[in-house]
Amino acid sequence: MTKNAVSLWSIFGVFAKIGAFTIGGGYAMIPLIEAEMRRKNWISEEDMPDIVVLAQSAPGILAVNMAIYSGYRLRGIKGAIAASLGAILPSFVIILAIAMLFAGIKDNPTVAKIFRGIRPVAIGLILVPAVNLARKGCKRWWAWLILAASLIAVALLKISPIYIILVTIIVAVAISLAKEARSGR
């Protein structure tokens, strides 16, 4: 299949379909994007892990990153724009509608009761990825130290997560380059 055989509309359509039907964010979208790209024969099986790794190493929304990389492979920058518009547009429209509707009903006593029950659930659901990530990412003592430091910095000292991410990356790069230099010698 040549690059030009894929139309921008069909790229947009595939990602819009995935964007409209996956609930629960980026990680839920990966297998769907993979299956759809394979079904359309847009990408080989070996190429897919590369796209996933790239999307995860880059900052931003996972699903949008995946859309940009996949779209780019198919039709260059136009394909990237078509794919990411497709991934974003359904949830943009749905949330906009909910936001408009919700503004009118949020002071309704029944709605207030429902949301009083829902809020603790939402918080419980935030804790799940935190615990999962801690279990997966904290294999050494220093990892727990990083976790504790970032938790205290944000919750107690109100330091912006931006600085925490920046400092972590700078320190990791420095350590990595130092390691490289030592082993190269």
Partner: protein, 187 residues
């Protein structure tokens, strides 16, 4: 002015989120709730709940909703655009860096540092929605955030939903619907 602030805020959120939607929540929360007070803690919690049962990336949902609350439809489009713009800008850079360094341990080292940091950020996001914390000198003053946790029943709902999601992998949408029904029956 509000548009400029909205753009910069969500651009930074898009630029500094590593590790998916939950990590993005902590950035959105500290910027949108703590720094600018565009939303209250309860409003933010409501958006998180709504995002978890509507389709699409959670980051896009939050940006769209916050943008609308702050500056209407134009605000929601601007916030969403600002959120995804860094991904486009970084695209070229990351591809080149990746091709150059992916055989070295650089990316792996960065990720092994970021993973625990992001876990801490996400835990902090949950804690900020449960407690009001301020520092008076070196002593933290902690009180329960009563808008989200009115009485012990809220803590019970939190505990049950965490156990159900973590240990029994119950579908989040199901849990949110159950929470709504519980709220309707209890309060």
């Amino acid at each position: 002015m509000i548009y400029v602030q909205l753009f910069i805020t969500f651009f930074l959120i898009g630029l500094f989120t590593f590790g998916g939607g939950a990590a993005m929540l902590s950035l959105i929360q500290t910027q949108v709730v703590t720094k600018y007070a565009w939303l209250t803690e309860s409003q933010f919690t409501d958006i998180v709940a709504i995002s978890q049962c509507t389709p699409g990336p959670i980051g896009v949902n939050c940006a769209t909703y916050t943008g609308y609350e702050v500056a209407g439809i134009a605000g929601s489009a601007l916030a969403t655009f600002a959120l995804v713009l860094p991904s486009f800008l970084i695209f070229y850079g990351i591809i080149r860096l990746y091709n150059k360094y992916h055989s070295t341990s650089l990316f792996g080292d960065i990720m092994s540092g970021l993973r625990p940091a992001v876990a801490g950020l996400i835990a902090a996001a949950a804690i900020i929605l449960m407690f009001r914390i301020s520092m008076s000198g070196w002593v933290p003053e902690i009180s329960i955030l009563t808008e989200n946790f009115g009485d012990w029943t809220s803590w019970a709902i939190l505990a049950v939903s965490f156990v159900a999601a973590f240990f029994f992998k119950v579908n989040p949408i199901l849990l949110i619907v159950a929470g709504g029904i519980a709220g309707l029956l209890i309060y």
